[in-house]
């Protein structure tokens, strides 16, 4: 017992000793050695559990000068202790009081560096706790910096966000409620921390535009841009059932409020990527800044137009077409990504813009903008390649919405474009069905639609009523497209009488036969013969089929698929034959109809 007591008393004694020594010194005479001794003694007190005594020393008026110069060195051990002690522990209370005192007494510049250093050095598991702990003293210290604070405020916010960025963003309802690493809480604490600085900028803007305030405003703007990218772009921002206060929705609203208060919200929404950034002379830096801001701006548009955060600040005079045009850049940015959180935001943004518009109201001239051509192609990529089913389905619905909004010439141009670029039989089949619907509308309306009848249509049909690789076209692969084309042709033959010939199908019949119907016959015969031979082969070699010299194997989701049995292989081959039969029966029907009509005309004329 006595030995231990000696040890602990020693820590406090050492502290008292250095204090007494420095009390009689002038501030200018403090030496490096004194700083060291103070730090070591202070640290020992904390580690040995004598926070109370340390607090007394710090609170002592006589020691003010010493603490002012040397106090900041205690930050590191102090934080360590606070994080270690339990909530109820008295020692923790003392440590918190020490922290508070240091914020009041120490040289702001030095303490600022000490705090920042501490944040920089924390591990990922503890960073949120540490940040939340230090935000209050940090704020106190920054406010003390008066007019020189802009740079330091910027540095703090940047440092904090840098430390948070590696952390995973809670996504599901459960993850958000758990908030394992404390990110949700921390983000909201950071916006609260920023509030006095925002208020300062607002106050100064109302007076006049001083150079000083521009700097602080710039730093706050940078912080908002960073927050839009992380965590907001990745976060799930839909309202969850059972969570009244969704932390990221709250965070998003606060960020929007800051942007509004510093008068950057609406300018940012209208900022176009193409604009030249005035800050950088070096083009490379300008490019980097632009790239970094595209994600943030896309997120901002999502927040405003899908979640309606800050929408009541947005002028209600712009046309829906113009809003779509403004958002296309952002939609393109999001649709080119692969992460679910970004893709779904892009789709939601696209959908919300389209839903604002009436059908047939979007002028075809908009297709002259490059992103109006790129975005539907990106949609096609999502609907054919994205592994997430509900996103594929959604992108298909949105493509139809997009088509519906265009005027006739716009639809025409879009169909041509997608037929040429999609390289996917299912999509082509879908477009061809759309073409059929438009022709139907044109034929049944009183007024003429020049784009889906006559020579424009003939030009379009040239893209539709053909086999991409002639008789050698893979009929199975292209069956969706071929069936759609045949159905379209059948419709035209039935609906458009030869005497009317509004669609021009009767004039181009010879070409259609040459490019489409004849090669299709040939292809069908070849394919059927081929598959029938395969089937015969398989059946004959059934006994030898169990040899396991697989040339290749297929793995799905980490599981190797079992090799197909002969029975399964035969089923597949039979299915192929069914498909060919199907195509053939529709083909036969079409030719029958053509023959009947031609015969009727010939009879009439004879």
């Amino acid at each position: 017992m006595p030995e231990e007591q000696n040890q602990t008393i020693m820590a406090v004694d050492e502290l008292q000793a250095i204090i007494q020594r420095c009390q009689i010194l002038e501030e200018a005479d403090f030496k490096g050695e004194d700083f060291n001794l103070f730090q070591v003694a202070g640290q020992k007190c904390l580690e040995d559990g004598y926070a109370a005594q340390l607090l007394e020393v710090i609170q002592n008026e006589k020691n003010k000068l010493i603490i002012k110069n040397m106090g900041w060195n205690l930050i590191c051990p102090l934080v360590r202790c606070i994080l270690m002690y339990k909530q109820e522990d008295d020692k923790r209370e003392h440590c918190l009081k020490i922290l508070h005192q240091l914020a009041q007494l120490c040289n702001p510049k030095e303490l600022f560096l000490g705090l920042l250093e501490q944040i920089e050095q924390t591990s990922a598991e503890q960073v949120c706790q540490t940040v939340m702990l230090l935000l209050q003293p940090l704020q106190t210290v920054l406010l003390k910096l008066q007019n020189k604070k802009a740079y330091s405020v910027g540095l703090s916010l940047a440092m904090i966000m840098n430390q948070l960025t590696p952390l995973p963003v809670p996504y599901t309802k459960q993850q958000i409620q758990e908030d394992k690493l404390g990110l949700c809480q921390c983000c909201n604490a950071v916006v609260d921390f920023a509030k006095p600085f925002v208020n300062e900028v607002v106050k100064n803007m109302e007076k006049s535009s001083e150079y000083n305030d521009m700097e602080l405003k710039e730093e706050l703007l940078k912080f908002c841009m960073k927050s839009l990218k992380y965590p907001l772009l990745t976060a799930q921002l839909e309202q969850f059932e059972g969570i009244e206060e969704h932390p990221f929705r709250h965070f998003a609203i606060e960020i929007i409020n800051i942007l509004w208060d510093i008068r950057e919200l609406i300018p940012l929404v209208f900022l176009h990527r193409k604009g030249k950034s005035p800050h950088w002379e070096n083009q490379e830096f300008a490019d980097i800044e632009r790239k970094n801001s595209t994600d943030s701006l896309a997120c901002l548009s999502y927040l405003m137009f899908v979640q309606h955060f800050g929408i009541d600040c947005f002028p209600m005079v712009f046309s829906p077409s113009y809003l779509l045009q403004c958002n296309m850049t952002h939609i393109e940015v999001l649709l080119k990504r692969t992460e679910e959180s970004l893709l779904s935001k892009g789709l939601d943004l696209f959908e919300s813009c389209l839903l604002r518009m009436e059908d047939n109201s979007l002028l075809h001239q908009y297709l002259e903008f490059r992103d109006f051509i790129n975005v539907p192609q990106d949609l096609v990529k999502v609907m054919t390649l994205c592994p997430i089913e509900h996103l594929r389905k959604k992108s298909l619905n949105i493509l139809q919405l997009f088509i519906d909004k265009f005027d006739a010439e716009g639809k025409y141009t879009l169909f041509r474009c997608l037929l040429k670029t999609s390289n996917h039989a299912g999509v082509e089949g879908y477009i061809i069905k759309n073409i059929k619907d438009q022709i139907h509308l044109s034929l049944t309306k009183a007024c003429d639609n020049v784009w889906f009848t006559g020579h424009h249509l003939i030009s379009l049909l040239d893209l539709v009523l053909l086999l991409p690789e002639g008789a050698e076209t893979d009929l199975l692969q292209n069956s969706d497209r071929i069936m759609a084309s045949l159905n379209l042709l059948r419709y035209l033959v039935i609906k458009d009488s030869e005497s009317d010939n509004q669609t021009g199908v009767w004039t181009t019949l010879a070409k259609i036969e040459q490019n489409f119907l004849k090669p299709l016959h040939v292809g069908l015969n070849m394919s059927k013969a081929h598959y029938e031979a395969e089937i015969k082969n398989k059946k004959e070699n059934r006994r030898e089929a169990h040899s396991s010299n697989t040339i290749c194997s297929v793995t799905v989701s980490g599981e190797k698929m079992p090799a197909m049995t002969t029975e399964m292989q035969l089923q597949v081959l039979h299915s192929a034959l069914f498909t060919f039969d199907l195509i053939e029966s529709v083909l036969a029907r079409v030719e029958e109809l053509i023959e009947v009509k031609i015969k009727a005309v010939m009879d009439e004329n004879s």
Binding site: W260, R263, I266, H308, I311, D312, C313, F314, P315, M316, V317, F318, S319, P320, S321, Y322, L355, R356, M357, E358, D359, N360, S361, L363, T384, R392, Q400, D404, D407, A408, A425, G426, G429, Y430, K433, D437, H440, L441, T444, K445, C447, L476, Q477, S479, D480, M483, A484, M564, M568, Q571, V572, S575, A576, F578, T579, D581, L582, S585, V586, R589
Partner: protein
Amino acid sequence: MAATAGPAQPWSAEELRSEALPKKDIIKFLQEHAAQAVRSLYMCVSRRGESLSATHRLVLQFLAEHKLLGQVKNVAKTANKEQLIAAYTQLFHTQRFKGTDGAEKAAEKAKPTKVEEAKGKAAKPEEAVEEGPPKYTKSILKKGDKTNFPKKGDTVHCWYTGKLQDGTVFDTNIQTSSKKKKAAKPLSFKVGVGKVIRGWDEALLTMSKGEKAQLEIEPEWAYGKKGQPEGKIPPNAKLFFEVELVDIE
């Protein structure tokens, strides 16, 4: 054998064979209720990816297998009763019923209604482009300089207040003493090129610098059928604006 899913068998074995039941009826039933084949059987075939007309194709496959494609009267000519009964029996045996797979069903359902909608809206499309009488009125509150008028493509700067028919203010950029202090800057935009609602584009081209006017804009030249719900503008709303043109660039 009773089916465990899908529609009940409308006819018993005897009824099927009787002369009283015409072939046409059986064919109609089969064509209407041919089912989606069990997915697993055709999964191998669908390896080329999700196919949008898979359902359609599979329905036709069943019909094709049994030579039931085409107009009822034509099929009736070629198919004999035995074949039809066999197809009917097999239908229930393999339980291939339409609509047992929800997702595909939803996709199928969506298609016909879209065409219906499109037909319904077919009357409107050209109207947007046609020139008709102006769908707004303007009354001047304060005269402008009557010399400087904006041209298409000029940037204009204005103060404005927008109200609904019932007097609700849905938007303004004029500084008031309300909670949300707006920026003390007029709204700027390029006029006459479709960036704003048509009522504004048309009206501003008739205003001179300094003019303040009251505009009443019909929904067709404002936000039309859709309105702007989050902007508090209901569908088919007539909008009332007080606009002051302060500058032209």
